[in-house]
Symmetry: C2
Subunit: 344 residues, 2 copies
Amino acid sequence: MSSRITLKDLAKKLNLSPSTISRALADHHSIGEETKKRVREKAEEVGFTPNSIAASFRKKKTKSIGIIVPRIDVHFHSRVISGIEEFAYKTGYNVTIFQSKDSFVREKEITKILQNRMVEGIIVCLSIETQDYEHFKRFKKLGMPLVFYDRVPSSLDANKIIVNDFESAFTATEHLIKNNCKRIAHIAGSQNTDIFKERLKGYTAALKKHHLKIDPDLILPTNNLSYEEGVICANKYLEMESRPDGVFCANDYTAVSVIQVFRKAGINIPKDVAIVGFSNYPISGIIEPNLTTVNDRAFQMGEAAARLLTRQIEDEENYIGSEIITLNTELIVRESSIRKASNK
Amino acid sequence: MSSRITLKDLAKKLNLSPSTISRALADHHSIGEETKKRVREKAEEVGFTPNSIAASFRKKKTKSIGIIVPRIDVHFHSRVISGIEEFAYKTGYNVTIFQSKDSFVREKEITKILQNRMVEGIIVCLSIETQDYEHFKRFKKLGMPLVFYDRVPSSLDANKIIVNDFESAFTATEHLIKNNCKRIAHIAGSQNTDIFKERLKGYTAALKKHHLKIDPDLILPTNNLSYEEGVICANKYLEMESRPDGVFCANDYTAVSVIQVFRKAGINIPKDVAIVGFSNYPISGIIEPNLTTVNDRAFQMGEAAARLLTRQIEDEENYIGSEIITLNTELIVRESSIRKASNK
DNA sequence: TCTTTTTACACAAACGTTTGCGTTAATGTT
DNA sequence: AACATTAACGCAAACGTTTGTGTAAAAAGA
């Protein structure tokens, strides 16, 4: 209720000028040690906390960054955000989050909100609907640093943090091949999204390298890689005359549903068919058999995004608007894909 | 790089005073419709976006709220945050997040950061280490609205959003009893935390009501209800001479491990022993058999917290510092607890 | 001892908005 | 026709900090 104590008030109490107080609190060299101590003590005594809005206003620095994610409660994103927050906290930034809810219009609305100096930079993972990037181009004009992660704009020259989806999918598929799989299926994500296109490419490339036939019937597309879609795909595989003996799934949810559907049908995993997922969701370590999957390094992705963003914020002169950082994944081999036959 | 266009610049271009521009953009009644249109069009043309820091500074309103959570990549919290963000977005607030990482000192540091008018109110879930609430009392003195959720300070008079843990545990346990369980075990959370104390109380109360013996050996305490701790507890139950025929677990992770350990030991679930968890984590709907659990209403909890907080921010006169809102949970009955014997 | 440098502080402007009040012209009221 | 009301806009102060510059006294150099 009562208006808080200001730097001026503190100055009056100490018979000093506001500028001295400001500098004393900032540990400026031109203020005497004795005075600094007096100021600090009095500030503590009267409970003075500087008005950071006024400071931001004056300094033209808010020390805060914005994040736009499709949804916060998707585990992948919450881990990325955690990485961002961790890095930001250490470097004195704070993070403001918005969720686009995978809506293009909401994403645009959010960018409007963020254009007014509230944040010094933005980290974004595109909504699934987004095909047009006009609303992000404005940030470039405004000189506001921008970093995309995971779902990045293919046609836009920008900072991007991605994972080597192609190679990840390649080694995941090759892992199945090495485990004696001959007919390897793939449950694919939406082909409107680059990352899922890359995973499909990596899958086919691995088959090609090892001279395995690429059977289009074994490649099943999905919209959002949901658990339910995974069940449908699994059932399709079950009905086939010659079933696959290995399945590379573009995420863990669909992999889990394949495991469950197959098991219920009396199929032994990994003996009859080996399964590999993608993303290393918590469930992958719990489901039985434990799921082989690729660690997508979500936390590191967040850190990398925050690091790149803050560097661009602080290095105004060497401002590079289009750096692409590719993170290396790691195949976590667990029970679901190890077949004694060729366990190398 | 180039300093952005300001309201004053816009005023010059239009031969109007800054005040008129400001009011025109705010759709003030004392500005002519014709003028408003001119202003809006010119603003659009030159790409003027108001400096919200300056506005916040002048109006003394930042329209933003802060959140302190233990970790944002814990699913429960990310859902709460999602609920907060959703409500905040609709009402024009934006949210800044901090994670305490369950560290008391970091929590204190964060509260220091938040004391400087950056946010107009704070929503917090206490770190597991926090026993002393002195750092939150300062907010009361400063008149800064504060709302706790889930892990709330027991000895502090404050706004709290909680779930009726006692009743939830009671009905969960009673559900087991109705399903013909006679020896019901309980895997309990840390008894330093109120919510887990309440769940234990609800469990014992249900047993008492139905005249079942309360066997202390069946009540196993844990530190953080992790999957691994669940495995340990499950093995202890296995080794008992007279095993439980029902287990009420204080969360879903431990429930899942009990299911898996028991199944591996050849025990049929739910026929031999029925299991109930708590929180309705995604895995509860996937694990086989599907886990009966209580929906903890995380998203609604976030909404309720945000609603209460914004009301207190905007109703300065009727400021109530200690409202307690209890959300009702819902028992989601699935396979893991349904025994044909007394399936009512 | 006189000048130069350093130390330690004060002055005042500035950041970009918002808002109470004042002013003019147009409209409405008797 | 004289007055009251309203409509539409301008003036100027204010929000609380930071920072370039000015200045006095103290210390150092000659």
